[in-house]
């Protein structure tokens, strides 16, 4: 038997992804702490662990996604649980202040961070909390995190799923699947904006394109149109609305299908097209507006993703990002759009940990950096 001595990084183990709207944080809670370790463990490390694991909400806006927790994970020779926490980027300054208050810098850990905020807030971490960030590329982290989570699975279940019968609303059901042979894949990351990557292997990928019409656009427009304030609120309204009161459909123009071009009457001809009319603007409900916004943004992403898949000759399209959180309207619509417009050629895949892969990737980097040290 060969003993491998791995130089483990010091606890706490974090990975952080600071996006445009949300900060995603993963925290590894070791469950195999020996009595000896317990004794050596400094007080503020203990308090961090207790604070994060005993609560599910932090301050007014921080949330731990308990249902996503990965349990009994063995990594770097340690076993424990991986926790998934998010809070708005707007609260970043309070978070840094907390790091300062809790004297985080005394813990001799490296804070691995990715996302744009790793760059934007770097100097604040330094000046306010005396913390040096290890900045990581967000796309590298995204891919590494995704492949890792998929490989360890979701507490014994597959991480990945798809929709069976995506073109049949009655019989469309979510089905788990394995991403055994994931390459090449088109990875569509829908955060505030959207990035589309063609991934050929763990370290071989390119960013094909992106669009500014993303989750931020959905929420931003919803806030302006309906006065709502949160993503949850916006989705709740959208789930009750009917976009055909807002959008102009092919049949609204042609009385039915536009046969000359094989367009179904139910296809959207002009998003928000009915809103050109004053009477219709005055009688429209907030729910319908929210739904139309959601459908417009989702269809557009689907359309761009599909074109990229065709241009790149990739059949597997994986959608991730926090826009898809609690958003079955969009996931089903994307599944339908991929299937319908490609005549079954393309397959839409989704992952349970939607928006956390960047943070997981950053976390993995922490372990790797110590390994190499």
């Amino acid at each position: 038997m060969k003993l491998i001595s791995i130089k483990k990084p010091a606890f706490p183990w974090f990975g952080m992804d600071i996006g445009g709207t949300l900060v995603k944080l993963v925290y590894f809670e070791p469950k195999d702490i020996t009595a000896e370790e317990e004794q050596e463990e400094v007080e503020n490390l203990k308090s961090i662990r207790r604070y994060l694991t005993s609560n599910t909400a932090y301050g007014k806006t921080g949330v731990r996604d308990v249902h996503l927790e990965l349990r009994n994970l063995t990594i770097c020779g340690r076993t424990g649980n991986l926790h998934f926490i998010r809070f708005p980027t707007l609260a970043m300054h309070r978070f840094i202040q907390m790091g300062s208050d809790k004297n985080f810098s005394s813990l001799h850990t490296t804070l691995c961070a990715t996302g744009g905020g790793a760059y934007k807030f770097e100097s604040d971490f330094m000046t306010v909390a005396d913390l040096e960030l290890l900045k990581l590329d967000e796309l590298d982290c995204l891919i590494h995190g995704l492949l890792y989570v998929d490989s360890v699975g979701f507490n014994g279940h597959p991480e990945c799923y798809y929709f069976e019968n995506p073109s049949d609303t009655q019989n469309c059901v979510k089905k788990p699947c394995c991403l055994d042979n994931p390459f090449p894949m088109l990875l569509v990351n829908i955060g505030s904006g959207v990035s589309i990557l063609a991934v050929y292997s763990k370290d071989n990928y390119k960013r094909v394109t992106g669009t500014s019409l993303g989750g931020g656009t959905f929420l931003g427009l919803c806030c302006l149109l309906t006065g709502c304030e949160t993503f949850e609120e916006a989705l709740e309204m959208a789930s009750k609305g009917d976009s055909s009161n807002v959008d102009k459909l092919v049949k609204d123009i042609y009385g039915g299908d536009y046969e000359r071009f094989g367009l179904q009457g139910s296809a959207v001809a002009s998003s928000f097209g009915h809103m050109m009319s004053k009477e219709k603007r005055e009688s429209i409900s907030k729910e319908d507006l929210a739904r139309a916004t959601l459908v417009t943004i989702t269809n557009n992403i689907g359309s761009i993703a599909r074109m990229c898949a065709v241009n790149e000759k990739i059949e597997r399209v994986v959608f991730v990002g926090n826009f898809l959180r609690i958003n079955t309207v969009s996931t089903k619509l994307l599944a339908y759009a991929m299937d319908f417009w490609s005549k079954g050629q393309l397959k839409a895949l989704f992952l349970e940990h939607e928006g956390y892969f960047g943070a997981v990737g950053a976390f993995l980097e922490l372990l790797k950096s110590s390994e190499e040290a």
Partner: protein, 775 residues
């Protein structure tokens, strides 16, 4: 998706409700109108009809010379005949005027046999009953996209400078594209309320390859919700004043700067409306409208690029009401295309984009007339040209462009094609100076044409001394052309690139419009008579010279003849005041060698070698130029064993010799000169018409017959004579065979620009690189 404007509000219908122009100036030639088509959009109606115009044309007819002619009899007689030509009328007006317009049409549509009106556009069904009731015509609906494509093909094929790229910060903002001889394949992105992406492969083969629901309707509908602003163009105005970075989340808002490893700059939009999701503040209407405009334009641009790449197409035209001449949207779309294709694809826009649907519907209805068999030309006199509807432009112009707009196209007698000897037809640009780009030159030429106007009016009047109402028409001509010049001063891009040629052509169109088909007919007649008398003397004098001396005398004769140009102010002043000014005086005016451009030695060396197989000679003026300059030169070529094709204008322009006149002159010269007679008889000297009626020359629009002759005779020398044809146009034209471009600069400003003096000589002999090695 579908190219419709759904709502009925929103155009400019709250603006002036009255028709600001008299309808008889808009719906012209209705008396003979047949074949109607109408395209009713959300705010604008476009009407098309085919009509015939009766025009006076000048004809010359040879007298019967079998009887002994009296001394002093003219060589031919001039007559003015009525001729009927076909013309297409396209008129654009606001939907608010539809009823008034239909009433006017009903009252003036007298002897038509038309039974149906072809209709397209979203509003067609809405106004169906009204049209049927008013006009007693059956409304026959045509597929919108088919009409659009048909119309697009038609304008691309028939209107030079139809397509342009838009550059907001450039002067001028419009950069017109050369008409590529082969217009297919291309991608048309029609941005109506939704977006349709159509791949067009040939006249009849096109396919809607994709589309998007995020289009003009989204901008309008969502914009109206966000800003409580109802009208489309008001939304655009709001947008043009806004700051999108107040609403959008930029890369720098997330990264603090650029995302360098991916090359994404800090100012790039990461998330449209992203700031309104995270900040709790009021956003201005202007900022939201701007953000929305960027969001939609970028999205469309991105899809356009994805489709262009998928189908491997680099020609992409944009149209639809979202674009329709709005500088704001043309700019954002252009920006987006540049960004997504890294400059590989250019966004192209069309001058007559708004008319495509109605042109197409019209063509569908006119299939039995085979309109695609003919070439058509934009009539500058009757067309209002491209007007900017930019909110930035002053309100006066906007109101004008908003009310009525007209496009008229004349059916040309013959099909026009490229000169087969162009080195690269796709990069050929006829005009030497683009006045849209060169503001100094523009200023000079516009003033020059303005100053010459009185003289032209006088000349026109003098050509019809016995006709009473000629004075009234001449005055109307003056007003029309002056108005055109004023328009061009404001909007130099109105008819495509502004050039000396387009200014000259516009003047010819305006003269024709008011029935002055040939103001110089009498002058030409007098000068031809006079020159013919000297022909034999000139030829004899040349025969006495040694070969070397004769070659130089021939070239000098050609150049001296070219001094007789009524189009040049300096010369027309001389000719006006000194009727005795003759060939010898003209020779004395010429610059001594070395000339401004002097390839005479190379030419002489070339003449010592193999004779050319066939020379194509684009001739210029009548009188001394053609008779005492060109013919002796041609005679020498014929003696050398070179066949000669003389290409002259199909219709009159200034004092240029027309094909009609040239036939008579050749016959007369043949009667005096056995060399010419034999050449005519053996078909070694051929007369063809150029297909043009311009004092300038566009080698990409020439009579098909000319092209055939040129090819059949294996033409290896092209001679282009005169300022209009060899300096204002074709100075830089690259031909695949040897060419001689010669002219006398009879304009001191132009001479100055070229670094010479008035009456400087340009004698350019060019040998294409490929054939150079063979000699």
């Amino acid at each position: 998706m579908a190219g419709h404007v759904g709502g009925t509000e929103g155009g400019r219908n709250s603006m002036d409700k009255s028709i600001t122009l008299p309808p008889d100036e808009i719906f012209r030639n209705l008396e003979n109108a047949k074949r109607f088509a109408i395209d009713i959009g959300g705010s604008l109606t476009k009407l098309a009809y085919y009509s015939t115009v009766q025009h006076k044309v000048a004809k010359v007819k040879s007298f019967d010379h079998s009887v002994k002619e009296a001394e002093g009899d003219p060589v031919y007689e001039i007559s003015v005949q009525e001729e009927i030509t076909a013309r297409l009328h396209f008129i654009k007006f606001e939907n608010a005027y539809i009823e008034t317009c239909l009433d006017f049409i009903k009252d003036h549509l007298v002897n038509t046999e038309t039974k149906v009106i072809k209709a397209t556009g979203g509003g067609a069904h809405k106004f169906k009953d009204l049209i049927e009731k008013k006009l007693k015509l059956k409304v026959d609906k045509e597929d919108e996209m088919t009409c659009l494509i048909k119309g697009c093909n038609f304008v691309l094929r028939n209107i030079p400078h139809e397509a342009f790229v838009y550059a907001k910060h450039a002067d001028p903002e419009f950069r017109f594209q050369n008409t590529h001889p082969d217009i297919f394949p291309y991608l048309l992105i029609n941005i109506g309320s939704g977006v349709s992406i159509v791949k067009v492969e040939s006249e009849d083969k096109f396919e809607r390859v994709g589309g998007s629901s995020i289009g003009g309707g989204t901008f309008w509908g969502l914009g109206a919700l966000l800003t409580k602003t109802k009208r489309f163009d008001e939304l655009l105005q709001l947008a043009s004043r806004g700051q999108h970075s107040n609403v959008d989340m930029l890369v720098k808002d997330i990264y603090g700067g650029a995302y360098e490893s991916l090359g994404l700059t800090g100012d790039l939009i990461a998330s449209s409306f992203g700031k309104s999701a995270t900040t709790d503040k009021q956003f201005s209407k202007e900022d939201m409208a701007k953000s929305l405009l960027h969001m939609i334009s970028n999205d469309i641009g991105q899809l356009a690029c994805l489709y262009a790449r998928l189908h491997n197409l680099s020609t992409v035209y944009f149209g639809g009401f979202f674009i329709r001449g709005h500088p704001v949207t043309m700019h954002t779309i252009t920006y987006s295309i540049n960004f997504f294709t890294k400059g590989e694809v250019q966004a192209l826009f069309l001058r007559h984009e708004g008319y495509l649907g109605t042109i197409g519907a019209f063509l569908k209805g006119a299939e039995e007339d085979n309109p695609n068999q003919y070439s058509w030309g934009e009539n500058y006199a009757g067309s209002s040209g491209l007007m900017s509807v930019s909110p930035d432009i002053n309100p006066m112009q906007r109101a004008r462009s908003g009310t009525f707009d007209m496009l008229e196209m004349d059916r040309l007698e013959r099909q026009l094609v490229n000169l087969p000897l162009l080195q690269d037809p796709s990069s050929y640009i006829p005009d030497t100076v683009d006045l849209t780009e060169d503001s100094h030159a523009r200023e000079y030429w516009l003033s020059c044409f303005e100053e010459a106007l009185d003289g032209v009016v006088k000349r026109a009047l003098a050509s019809q001394p016995d006709i009473l109402e000629a004075a009234e028409r001449a005055e109307k001509f003056r007003q029309k052309y002056r108005h055109k010049l004023q328009t061009l001063r404001q909007q130099p891009f109105a008819y495509g690139s502004l050039t000396v040629r387009s200014l000259l052509d516009t003047r010819e169109h305006c003269l024709n419009e008011f029935n002055f088909p040939d103001p110089y007919s009498k002058i030409k007649q007098r000068e031809n008579d006079m020159a013919l008398k000297y022909y034999q003397k000139v030829v004899r004098a040349l025969e006495d010279l040694s070969w070397e001396q004769r070659q130089f005398a021939l070239v000098r004769g050609l150049l001296a003849g070219n001094v007789f140009d009524w189009g040049a102010k300096a010369v027309s002043d001389v000719l006006e005041t000194d009727p005795g000014f003759g060939f010898e005086q003209a020779k004395q005016q010429l610059q001594e060698r070395p000339w401004l451009v002097d390839a005479y030695n190379q030419w002489i060396e070339r003449l010592k070698g193999e004779p050319h197989k066939c020379a194509l000679f684009f001739v210029d003026n009548s009188g001394i130029d053609i008779i005492l300059g060109v013919f002796p030169f041609v005679r020498e070529l014929l003696i050398r064993g070179t066949q000669v094709v003389l290409a002259s204008n199909s219709l009159p322009a200034l004092n240029d010799v027309t094909n009609n006149e040239l036939h008579i002159l050749t016959e007369r010269i043949a009667g005096m000169d056995p060399v010419i007679q034999a050449a005519v008889k053996d078909d070694r000297l051929t007369l063809v018409q150029s297909g043009s009626s311009s004092p300038c020359l566009d080698l990409s629009r020439l009579d098909k017959v000319l092209a055939t002759v040129v090819r059949e005779r294996r033409t290896d020398l092209v001679i282009i004579e005169g300022m209009g044809r060899a300096i204002h146009t074709n100075y830089y034209a690259a031909l695949s065979c040897e060419s001689l471009k010669l002219a006398v600069i009879k304009n001191s400003w132009l001479a100055d620009r070229l670094g010479g003096k008035i009456f400087s000589v340009v004698f350019k002999f060019e040998v294409p690189p490929k054939t150079q090695g063979l000699h």
